[in-house]
């Protein structure tokens, strides 16, 4: 399965290695990937050109993943969002769900896992 005609994907993570790795995987999977270093930069980029899907880390300086999800979902309800986390409590996950986050991924994940979740989220109405 391929993303519908080069779906636009934004990767937000303050760790460059993670950003680089996940962009690489998802570019291979057929997404048009752009990157943001933190939540604030991501909000600017989304407002300029809203993507179809955002993959964001939960723990980030300034604007964290959950705050980003809240802003994006209120301004661009059609944009899907998946949160990534290296460590999170069930409470955090529950809060993310309340903010309308479409799915979440626990680091480390594999190329196949991120690809299948991204595609499954994109296929949802």
């Amino acid at each position: 399965m391929n993303p519908p005609d080069k779906a636009k994907l934004l990767i937000v993570d303050d760790n460059e290695g993670v950003r680089h790795l996940v962009s690489r995987w998802l570019e291979k999977a057929g997404f048009a990937v752009s990157e943001a270093r933190d939540g604030a930069e991501a909000v600017d980029m989304v407002r300029r050109d809203p993507p179809d899907l955002i993959l964001a880390d939960i723990r980030m300086p300034k604007i964290d993943g959950i705050e980003l999800a809240r802003i994006v979902k209120s301004e661009f309800p059609d944009t899907k969002i998946i949160l990534m986390t290296a460590y999170s409590s069930p409470q955090t996950i529950a809060q993310a769900r309340r903010e309308g986050v479409d799915d979440y991924l626990e680091k480390p994940f594999t190329k196949d896992q991120v690809e299948s979740i991204a595609l499954s989220v994109m296929s949802r109405e």
Partner: protein
């Protein structure tokens, strides 16, 4: 006397004097007559003898007449005395009755009514009343009455500083009132409807205090004789003494009742208090040992009471725990030492370590003399254990926070390292370089596992509601199959024995997965030469499902067994030492419990008590 005049009673009337001259006269006359008769018969001859005889006879006749008259006059005079003596006799009889009435009852109203009756009889009165002061000594109230209509005296209050009755009470003097004015409302006040004419008001005095006033009144003019007044005064004195005694008796009775009640309260309170209480007297004999003391030390109170605290161990081996308290009691009893909030660790009645908090102190009477010593103690073993556990948890929590922070900062780069190394490994053609990249990936993966384990362990407990629940019947077979897909060994047989219809337990799928994978991995590790792993689960019926994971393996050495749940403890090469700690943490956080039993070369059994959904549980951890 003038109308309405009153007087203070004094001594009145004349005294009767004896009349000895009559007796002397009689003796002289009889002597003269005797001498005359002798002279006549010896000296005179007829006819002088006859003349003298006739003269003497005349004299004797005259004397006889005189004596008869005197005798009659005497009788008339004595009659009055006899009547008076008879009357006095009667009155003293009444007084004796009154005294016996005083000593026969302790009911003040009955006593006063009896005496009032006697007073009325004595004064020949039909109206009488006894009044006593109220608590503030401002008013006199009716205690007993005769001859009054009830409504006339009910609630009657006479000020002590007003009227004759008030004055008699305050001055302590007897007041007699004559020619009382006619009461126009006599028919409303008195039962006979007649207005009193004379009245005597007597204070009830004894032991230097005036306790009331007695009043009797007659509807005719009545002259109060001194004897009568003196008798009434004695009677009033007796009544006052009796009233004071009755009051004292009633007070002491009340004090006794209060003491008995207080003792009952104290007894009850001490019996039911959540602390052990042991009291010894000056000789060291146990005189008190409450129920809680018995509960704590597993001794029946009645077995200890009466024994000397020094002989307890000699008496019975079961008093061993109690004997640890001997030195404290000795110091309090013999050296009068006081201990407040001290702590002692003793060997408990069931052998284990027992921590007691205690107060011990010598006991003194109000006058200061020593009466024994008391020991009050509480079993705080579980509190101490909980404190220790809390301290450990606090410690772990700080450790956990640190670990979480470090781990978070390390996991992201590790993830990038693993992923990027994998990417390069896939693209690399040179086998040597490919192997090196694989090593990077594997080492980073191992580090990541370590950190993930620590993170799970440091995670703060979450309420089971947030974690969800699982049906073991459904989940266990799937998880076991998952585990075996990668870890199955030909010589290891896995058996599942799950009761039908198990209720859901308060664990998330992730958690039950962690538990099963960890316990099965350990079991596999303990079966290098093969064997059987059995997973059982049944409903205990007390809100918990019991799950057992048993193996027939090498067993855990006894010296290692107590440490298996300790974090970072591992006997396996490359083990993180967190697997079982996490299992224990998950189970304790859910409100359950986990235990392990093992025997060398016989195998190991983990028993997990998992709380059932919908039943209220307190976390045991």
């Amino acid at each position: 006397m003038k109308k309405g005049m009153e007087q203070t009673a004094g001594v009145r009337g004349e005294r009767r004097k004896p009349q000895p001259f009559l007796m002397v006269l009689l003796v002289v006359v009889i002597t003269l007559l005797a001498v005359g008769l002798i002279a006549v018969s010896v000296e005179l001859r007829p006819p002088y003898r006859y003349v003298a005889g006739a003269g003497l006879t005349l004299c004797i006749l005259t004397l006889t007449l005189f004596l008869t008259f005197e005798w009659w006059r005497f009788r008339e005079q004595n009659k009055e005395y006899i009547d008076e003596i008879t009357d006095l006799n009667l009155r003293f009889g009444i007084l004796a009755d009154a005294v016996s009435a005083v000593s026969s009852t302790l009911d003040i109203e009955e006593l006063v009514a009896n005496i009032l009756g006697v007073m009325l009889t004595l004064t020949n009165s039909k109206i009488g009343v006894v009044l006593v002061p109220d608590e503030d000594m401002k008013y006199l109230q009716v205690l007993s009455y005769r001859g009054f209509q009830e409504q006339a005296v009910r609630g009657l209050k006479l000020p002590v500083d007003h009227g004759s009755i008030g004055r008699a009470f305050t001055t302590g003097q007897v007041i007699i009132r004559d020619n009382l004015p006619l009461d126009p409302k006599a028919h409303e006040t008195y039962t006979e409807g007649k207005s009193p004419r004379s009245q005597i008001i007597m204070p009830l005095k004894a032991k230097g205090q005036t306790v009331g006033v007695a009043v009797t009144a007659t509807c005719e003019e009545h002259e109060y004789k001194p004897e009568e007044v003196s008798l009434l005064s004695s009677l009033c004195h007796e009544l006052a003494v009796a009233m004071i005694n009755v009051e004292l008796y009633q007070k002491s009775q009340k004090t006794l009742e209060w003491l008995a009640e207080t003792q009952e309260y104290t007894e009850h309170f001490i019996q039911e208090m959540l602390a052990g209480v042991m009291v010894v007297n000056n000789e060291g004999d146990v005189i008190y040992f409450n129920r809680e003391a018995g509960e704590i030390l597993k001794i029946e109170p009645k077995e200890v009471i009466g024994l000397n605290y020094r002989d307890l161990v000699k008496e019975r081996e079961k008093f061993r725990s109690l004997s640890f308290l001997q030195p404290i009691l000795r110091l309090s009893l013999e050296e009068e030492r006081t201990f407040r909030r001290h702590e002692i660790v003793i060997e408990g009645p069931e052998g284990g370590r027992m921590v007691l908090n205690y107060n011990a102190f010598p006991m003194h009477r109000a006058r200061g003399e020593k009466m024994g010593a008391a020991l009050v103690f509480m079993d705080v073993t579980s509190v101490k254990e909980m404190e220790a556990r809390l301290r450990q948890q606090e410690h772990l929590s700080i450790l956990g926070q640190m670990a979480a922070k470090i781990a978070h900062e390390v996991k992201n780069p590790l993830f990038a390292i693993i992923g990027l190394a994998e990417e390069l490994e896939e693209e690399e053609q040179d086998p040597e370089r490919k192997a090196l990249l694989s090593m990077i990936r594997q080492e980073a993966t191992l580090s990541n596992q370590w950190i993930s384990g620590m993170l799970t362990f440091s995670r703060s407990p979450v309420s089971p509601r947030e974690e969800g629940w699982v049906y073991l019947e459904k989940e266990l077979p799937a998880l076991v199959a998952d585990f075996l897909r990668v870890n199955a060994k030909d010589d290891v047989k896995v058996v599942q024995d799950l009761e039908d219809g198990l209720p859901p337990v308060m664990l998330s799928r992730d958690n039950i997965r962690h538990i099963i994978f960890n316990l099965m991995e350990n079991a596999m590790h303990a079966l290098p030469d093969g064997g059987v792993i059995t997973i059982r689960a049944h409903d205990r019926g007390d809100g918990f499902v019991e799950m057992r994971v048993e193996d027939t393996g090498t067993g855990i050495p006894p010296e290692v067994l107590p440490s298996v749940f300790q974090p970072f403890f591992s006997t396996k090469d490359g083990g993180t030492g967190l697997g079982l700690s996490i299992v224990q943490k998950i189970v304790l956080d859910s409100g359950g419990d986990v235990e392990v039993f093992s025997q060398h070369n016989m195998g190991t059994t983990f028993i997990l008590k998992l709380p059932v959904r919908g039943v209220s549980h307190e976390p045991t951890g």
